[in-house]
Amino acid sequence: MSYLIETKNITKRFGGLVAVDKMSFGVKEGEVVAVLGDNGAGKSTLIKMISGVYTADGGSVFYNGSEAIIHTPMDALAMGIETIYQDLALAENLNVYSNIFLGREKTKKKFGIFPVLDHEFMYDESTKILNKLDVKIPSLKNNVRTLSGGQRQAVAISRSIYWNAKVLIMDEPTAALGVAQQKQVLDLVNSLKDHGIAIILISHQMRDVFAVADRIIVMRRGMKVGDLIKKETSTEEVVNLIVGSEMVS
């Protein structure tokens, strides 16, 4: 089976710094690929080029075998590439259902002409998707500010699923969570895999990675230094690649 999402020689520079250097990797349907690397290795930058937040300085992204033109987040979203960001997840001053529909609000016509927000529809749909994923939130009308880290993450994931993610990118989804909440998120990831979604998971938690990933990509200083099948590798090997005491490809 070929890759659903793939990058070829993708590169991003910030001034003189090469944050991502000719990275090539791909993810198949129903596959979870973990991207690991030390702080500043370029993981977030890599996925931001796939999700349209940054435009690549070189190389390209392929979706379903053909080259994808991704200039803005909307381009990526339209293709079913949904991203849960490490640093810019939700608008905390808006309520839960407004966040699930942010940027893609449902409107209805008032007096046959004026498009106004269809709050009821958005509320109901959000309730449905949260129930379906067994996510418990006190009230969807509460601002996201009032939610716990795990609840926020669950809202962000539900949002991606509601919008029919084909590719789901998660940047350190469990970083700020307690043990029980981490498990919830990982269970969610495992169940999404069965739905044929291609998942890119960035994490520093070796345990998480080994719990859900099929493949492990290791980055160092913007470059890919390892592409390993989980079943054939070990925590030790991965750690060595991350810190750079050994070179494998």
């Binding site: 810019l88 608008a91 905390e92 001053n93 942010l102 940027g103 893609r104 409107t107 498009p115 009032t146």
Partner: protein, 322 residues
């Protein structure tokens, strides 16, 4: 038991933090009624509403600007520029409507310019609108040669007229209120200004065209300032290039008193209208009780300070609620 007490105390505090401006308004009305027998007469109330209307219309716009995490310092000068050009359009054509529309368009034009410069060059709104503040004032003076445009009697309906006994500026203030409330509460546009002010990066990542939104907010804000400019000239019966001085600060004060947070993402048009009422009533009662204008200046400054402290206080309340 003490836990419940704490909870009650806490939610009271929350209520005050979120709706403090309503408490203040109520308090102010009671005090004013006690201090002056004239205060609650319908004539005086109309007076208050009419006097505040122009600044409140500007304040609606600046509220949206602040909610989206920006600021506009140019409105006072743009009031003058759009006002004099609108007035002169009236003088040329003899049509008050043309004057009105030209004034609004000039205002919208300056807003479009502000928004475009801010987003294209990625500059802070503070600086760009500060520049516009002097440029627009200069243009207004240049256009008129520094002299007021006079003999515009037929143009004064917008500022001096009445409809069903209510001053036209007040009616305009209320009509615009309804429009802007719907816009901010019921439309995507409204949702997006809150999203941008709350978390601009999340807004971008959600596919919102943040640059276009910022330009749109500034343009709309400019149009409202233009409208205010025309009403002002119409009310003072001449096109005055020096009019509107410091209006931007009055408008920002109204927004902040009404609960709009200077750090963006939080605020409401209703709050701003209440903020306008607070400022308007305060000015009125100080006049009725013959407080010297010097003291009025000082009090106004203190009120701005209190409003900003309330803003910070509200913030800390909300973050401690987490």
């Amino acid at each position: 038991m003490s836990d419940i007490n704490k909870k009650i105390g806490f939610s009271l505090k929350m209520a005050f933090a979120n709706y403090g401006y309503l408490f203040i308004l109520g308090f102010l009305i009671i005090i004013s009624t006690i201090l002056s027998p004239v205060f609650l007469t319908s004539g005086n109330i109309m007076n208050i509403l009419r006097q505040m209307s122009i600044t409140v219309i500007i304040a609606y716009g600046v509220t949206m600007i602040i909610i989206s995490g920006m600021i506009d310092l140019s409105s006072g000068s743009v009031v003058a520029l759009s006002g004099v050009i609108g007035t002169s359009a009236f003088v040329m054509t003899g049509s008050p409507w043309v004057g009105l529309i030209v004034g609004i368009l000039v205002g919208a034009g300056t807003g479009l310019f502000n928004g475009t410069v801010i987003t294209v060059f990625n500059l802070p709104p503070f600086i760009v609108t500060l520049a516009m503040m002097t440029v627009a004032r200069g243009l207004a003076l240049l256009y008129t040669g520094g002299y007021p445009i006079i003999d515009i009697d037929a143009f004064t309906t917008f500022g001096k007229g009445f409809f069903l006994g209510i001053p036209i500026p007040v009616i305009i203030m209320l009509l615009v209120f309804v429009g802007v409330v719907i816009l901010t509460k019921r439309t995507r546009f409204g949702r997006y200004i809150f999203a941008i002010g709350g978390n601009e990066e999340a807004a971008i990542a959600s596919g919102i065209n943040v640059k276009r939104m910022k330009i749109m907010v500034f343009t709309l804000n400019g149009a409202l300032v233009g409208l205010a400019g025309v009403i002002l000239m119409s009310r003072i019966n001449s096109g005055q290039p020096a009019a509107g001085l410091m209006y931007e600060l009055d408008a920002i004060t109204m927004a902040v008193i009404g609960g709009t947070s200077l750090s963006g993402g939080i605020g409401s048009i209703t709050g701003t209208l209440v903020g306008g009422l607070i400022v308007g009533i305060l000015k009125n009662i100080l006049n009725l009780t013959n407080v010297s204008p010097y003291w009025q200046q000082i009090l106004k400054g203190l009120i701005i300070l209190i409003a900003v402290i309330m803003d910070v206080y509200t913030k800390s309340m909300q973050s401690s609620k987490k």
